[in-house]
Symmetry: C2
Subunit: 578 residues, 2 copies
Amino acid sequence: MDKILRINMGADGGPKATEEPLGDYSGLGGRAMTSAIVSKEVPPLCHPLGEDNKLVIAPGLLSGTAAAMSGRLSIGCKSPLTGGIKEANAGGQPSQVLARLGYAAIVLEGKPRDDIFYKVFINKDGVTITPDNSLKKLGNYDLVDKMKAEFGEKIACMSIGPAGEMKMAGASIACTDMELRPTRHAGRGGVGAVMGAKGVKVIVLDDTGMKMRASKDPEKFRAANKEFVAGLRKHPVSGEGLPKYGTNVLTNVISEAGAYPTKNFMWGSFEMCNKISGETQAQTEIDRGGVATHGCHRGCVIRCSGIYMNKDGHYLTKQPEYETVWAHGGNCGIDDLDAIAQLDRLDDDYGLDTIEMGATIAVAMEAGIAEFGDAQAAINLVKEVGKGTPLGRILGNGAEVTGRVFGVERIPTVKGQAMPAYDPRGIQGIGVTYATSTMGADHTAGYAVATNILGVGGSVDPLKPEGQVELSRNLQIATAAIDSTGMCLFIAFPLLDQPETFQALIDMLNAFYGLSLTADDVTELGKKVLSFERDFNNRAGFTAQKDRLPEFFKKEKLPPHNITFQVKDEDLDQVFNW
Amino acid sequence: MDKILRINMGADGGPKATEEPLGDYSGLGGRAMTSAIVSKEVPPLCHPLGEDNKLVIAPGLLSGTAAAMSGRLSIGCKSPLTGGIKEANAGGQPSQVLARLGYAAIVLEGKPRDDIFYKVFINKDGVTITPDNSLKKLGNYDLVDKMKAEFGEKIACMSIGPAGEMKMAGASIACTDMELRPTRHAGRGGVGAVMGAKGVKVIVLDDTGMKMRASKDPEKFRAANKEFVAGLRKHPVSGEGLPKYGTNVLTNVISEAGAYPTKNFMWGSFEMCNKISGETQAQTEIDRGGVATHGCHRGCVIRCSGIYMNKDGHYLTKQPEYETVWAHGGNCGIDDLDAIAQLDRLDDDYGLDTIEMGATIAVAMEAGIAEFGDAQAAINLVKEVGKGTPLGRILGNGAEVTGRVFGVERIPTVKGQAMPAYDPRGIQGIGVTYATSTMGADHTAGYAVATNILGVGGSVDPLKPEGQVELSRNLQIATAAIDSTGMCLFIAFPLLDQPETFQALIDMLNAFYGLSLTADDVTELGKKVLSFERDFNNRAGFTAQKDRLPEFFKKEKLPPHNITFQVKDEDLDQVFNW
């Protein structure tokens, strides 16, 4: 992982790949790498779909090693959804494979001069870029099947569906999982549209002949990894709740807490939540011959995913995540798990962010385009997106555009990005993260739900403004660092509660790279990443006014707690004042 | 004109009208009034379609008097198109009538609690607000006919068509002309959507029984007005070019100057421009029994408008303005004057900004939705807007949304508002105004075309950056002041060249109000208005980065001069540094 692969899609005579040493970017991985490159190299006022934007794909610092949970991939660019910097993060296989192929980053640059889509194949022998318009309009599932037929079963793919080709701001980049299915998505912020604008349909990785990355101190590394894994297994969230029920274990929890955004953020509890809960979902999976505990990449020990079969016992989709079940479920008043799974499958196939799509359909429902609770209508709407009809184009560009086009006032977005599955009135800490994150509304940027609701990392009353700014700040810093390691964010649960597990992570990094980092260094790394990002956004014209929730969260009281968002503007402005 | 009429559309028990003295707003008119009220009373981060936005309608300081050219109306709010402050300015009869009824402003506030559209009738006896859903979906022409049948022929109307009802960001507010036709529009920035959000379909004014506003010094006022009119008649632009050919006299001029944006700003000259020029248009009007020289309101002595008949000699629309002919003509590669007139009629009837719509259709053409030059396709697209289909909803929300939804890179907007009929590369001075105006891209905010191309107010080379910032600054200040008087902006041509005509305007103000203003006071008024507006925009989160042209104007060279926009960012930042 000592080189950067740059592919200039706009080079004279066709796309051109060059390799270069890490240079200034030495020592960076994952989000630190993507945000450093984007912040340094992309003009903040460029058009996100133009030649000056860059799509940066980076495995984490520990990706490609034997470290457990190290399979997360960061994809960065200027976002077509937010107009600011973006890092979208995905599981699946590509991160490990890319790291083993020796690349610390792939940077897609320029803009193709023709209307051709390319496939990029990377293996131990180098990079091959081939025009292949036969791939046009393929969904991710068919596309990956074609790649398997061409390149064999030992590959990992990153690809876009029709949504990315149509440069929709809700378009994702699909990463294949262990079963070589396109189920793990760098979903947020329209990274798929940027890949589409670069004319790249798929990047196929094959690490045959490459070895696992070697540690500087294998002995210490092994010991630290062992301690780390023990810590993950010991913690109730990562060792028990997530493996058993997946992320969707949260449906009942958040609805009971009165912070489950229902019918476009009208209510805080969904009375039918039991029908779509993680418990129901896991049982359904098991009953139909699916799997309720499954990893999304090799080296995962939490195994919060699963495999969801249809009523006939055939594979339909991977286990939909909590946020997906919420977005297409309670947020649209839909309580039909099979319909939600079908929506998840459609999103994955078209290459769409499930959170953005669910939030968008709820806004469309508020506009009267469909009735809340009408699952078939929701499915039809997502199919419109896949077809690229005018209505589909609107929806595929996300909740903000949809609300604007239909004159809707209640649009739950920050910086143009739809809020995920936690109402900021019922969980005020996550509201601080939504408002201030460099990414737009993003639960993963500083998951205050952990401390507000789950009692992880201490306890802060979810309904009170006190302590939320500090909580969100610390989580945003920690997350930026974790996102740079290639580690799954779910390690944060044990890390927050178990100092020895946090130390084990630091020991792994030190053993692998021959460093002597301390916890303070990790904090500094997180601050550095956030500073890159804030700096980019400032230069793109973002101000404090962008760090605000939409006004209806301050005006409408959310039942059942009948509470508005209470954190003051001037306190929000202190989040990055460390 | 000593009172403000506030109508709270969200009052308990239905809309409620109250009158109040001018208070803090004493001495203000037109744009100074609308911008003062919006800046002081509207929360900058409110949703433009929400209850906290206000729609302010204000005649100018000299409206309702015997002063020539004093019939302009200012309509202000937070713009759904730009997210910043907006003043849209219209001719027609309402300004004079409203002023004679004694109102310095109407302020529509709050939000109706039901799905009802109201008509507001104002005469000497007061204000009547009536729910009338029979008006729903009526085009402006049918609507005004209905109002005539109900209230007689001595009225003036301000109304919205279906576009405003659908809260489209391209929606205008129609003002009736001397023939009681809805042809004069407060077009820009989506003011019609805000009126729609307030649930007001039409405001009908009847000044029967009211007198012309009385001057403090009638003698001096009469003399000054006489001098003023003589000045207008003497100047070649206001006395000759505009009366004879209307604003469309510019088509040949701007195309010859190489600054006529053709096919979505791809070229600077339109080879078919002669087919749609003012000369051709005037002759066509005369040949068909229309009128080529006509005023839009009583008291107009420039008379730059006209009446356009169809091939059968029946009224089709008022004489389309230069910017309309450009927007629907050369900018879409269309050279059919009848088709352009039909588009003008449709825009007026649906209640749409012709500039925004033409720019939007060109962006849609660039996206491949229709072919450049296909007039019938353009007509069909505008009809989609009227019908409110998903495609129509996209288009009706303007060029920026349309470009975004269809993934277009070349979107000629600033602050979300489409550029008018002058390419900022061929006329660099207008580029400074587009970039820095508080209004978004707006030629009327500081019409540097006058000095860059027409040789009015001196001479500044249109192709060089030197002198453009100062020129734009001075014109923006002067315009903000003129827009506050109720005067038609076309008085600026003689004012810039003839000091005695400028003095006559000041003399009129002084005689009417018993003041002793100097030219410096007028400048101070202009600066004050701009300061209100900049302050609002700053509080809405606008920064220097919003005062920029889209990057393609800096990267693509415009033929035939093969020039990019040359004014530096740091110089743009000096426009408001006076």
